[in-house]
Amino acid sequence: MTMIFGIPVQAFLGQLLVGLINGSFYAMLSLGLAVIFGLLRVINFAHGAQYMFGAFVGYLLLTHLGIGYWPALILVPLIVGVFGVVVERLALSRLYDLDPLYGLLFTFGLALVLEGIFRYYYGVSGNPYAVPPLLAGGTNLGFMFLPNYRGWVVVASLIVCFGTWALIEKTRLGSYLRAATENPRLVQAFGVNVPLLLTLTYGLGSALAGLAGILAAPIYQVSPLMGSDLIIVVFAVVVVGGMGSILGAIVTGYMLGLAEGLTKVFYPEASNLVVFVIMAIVLLVRPAGLFGRDA
């Protein structure tokens, strides 16, 4: 059998694929964070909680209303997005003129409340969310058994990431967004309702988190804890990527997913540290991040 670094090439490929799947979640989450940060200058600490919220909304839709996975895929981002819009209107919009740290602290509080509420009502051991029948089972790829659902997650996340990227890079709404990132006052002087744009952006970022949540539900337990540890890793991803570009956030997400996947094979004990170690190295070599512009 062919070997790479002492392990069979097939296992190696399998692990790469698994890393890519994790990278999909990192990419989707860091993308949402980057979109929000880019325009609002708010580090959305509640991003992890909104991801968890998305998974729970999916679960509740299923158990209480009998709404299954496919409609939930549309409904969940909508609901979480509307939630984001409300949060932005009621609270975040009051904080823009202040030090960005207040945005961070507010969303931190929000994250605690969201997590606390779900913990209180649904406990912590998690709730089941079955893989939709259409995607049940798996495919033998020769080098590994790939659960169909995971294949779908990779595809879906690629679609979402590049869809968002295209939305922002290729459409009129996107050109408002990008222009407003550069010079919000001027764009507003042109007659664009920038405050509304900010609201929608936060909504969009939240919706992305919610979507990641419902995509994650059939893989991970739907649990109030699912977001809080993940978010710190995603922060590190964002620091590594830098806040320069949407594409940067996406690419870094996938890259670090792969790096983590490889660590899980060669030195699994450190797989939770690898992202942080990469972060430290990047900070030393390129303080603005891989894709970031000088602040």
Partner: protein, 236 residues
Amino acid sequence: MTSAAPLLAVTGLNAWYGEGHALHGVDLEVFAGETVTLLGRNGVGKTTTLRAIMGLIRKRTGRIAFDGKDLMRLPLHRTAHQGIGFVPEERGIFATLTVDENLVLPPVVAQGGMSVEEIFDLFPNLKERRNSPGTRLSGGEQQMLAIARMLRTGVKMLLLDEPTEGLAPVIVQRIGALLATLKKRGMTILLVEQNFRFASRVADRFYLMEHGKVVAGFPVGELPDRMAQLHEVLGV
């Protein structure tokens, strides 16, 4: 030309940058179809006047009426919809947007704007570069783009801040010709200009600013009589 009420009337306009008091009671009027130039040395408050009219400076007092409507209370993004377009001093071309995207960025606020095709007819070299990032253009092209993108929106009035600044003489001529064309189409223009020679060719009237105030106003015909004063104030 000066019979009806002015399209833009500014009275007693004060403005501050933080604690720096930049405008000390500016009064001026611009009538429909006119081209009016604000003259003055660096730092007297010409740019500030335009920015205050647009609402880009929050800390302001006084009255600004446009087309009979009070602009003081409008939120920033509603001002443009009254029919005013702003071409800032630093041009405000967006680096992350292509020429095309820059061009269509400002929303259309009224009927009667030019189509993209018409604009490209007017600025053939922009058409050539329509897919390059906005800030890759030369300074002159950027200036044209900054003016061009306001033409699409159907505004009645343009506020132009030093459109010839840093531009080679040939381009300055082209811009002069453009302003003449716009004027023929009935556009009202409030121009801020350091380049006195250029201003004297395009303007119908002048206001002279000093220390955050308008100190004189006169039509182009009086120019020869005013040269002494201008010499003193502008050093020209």
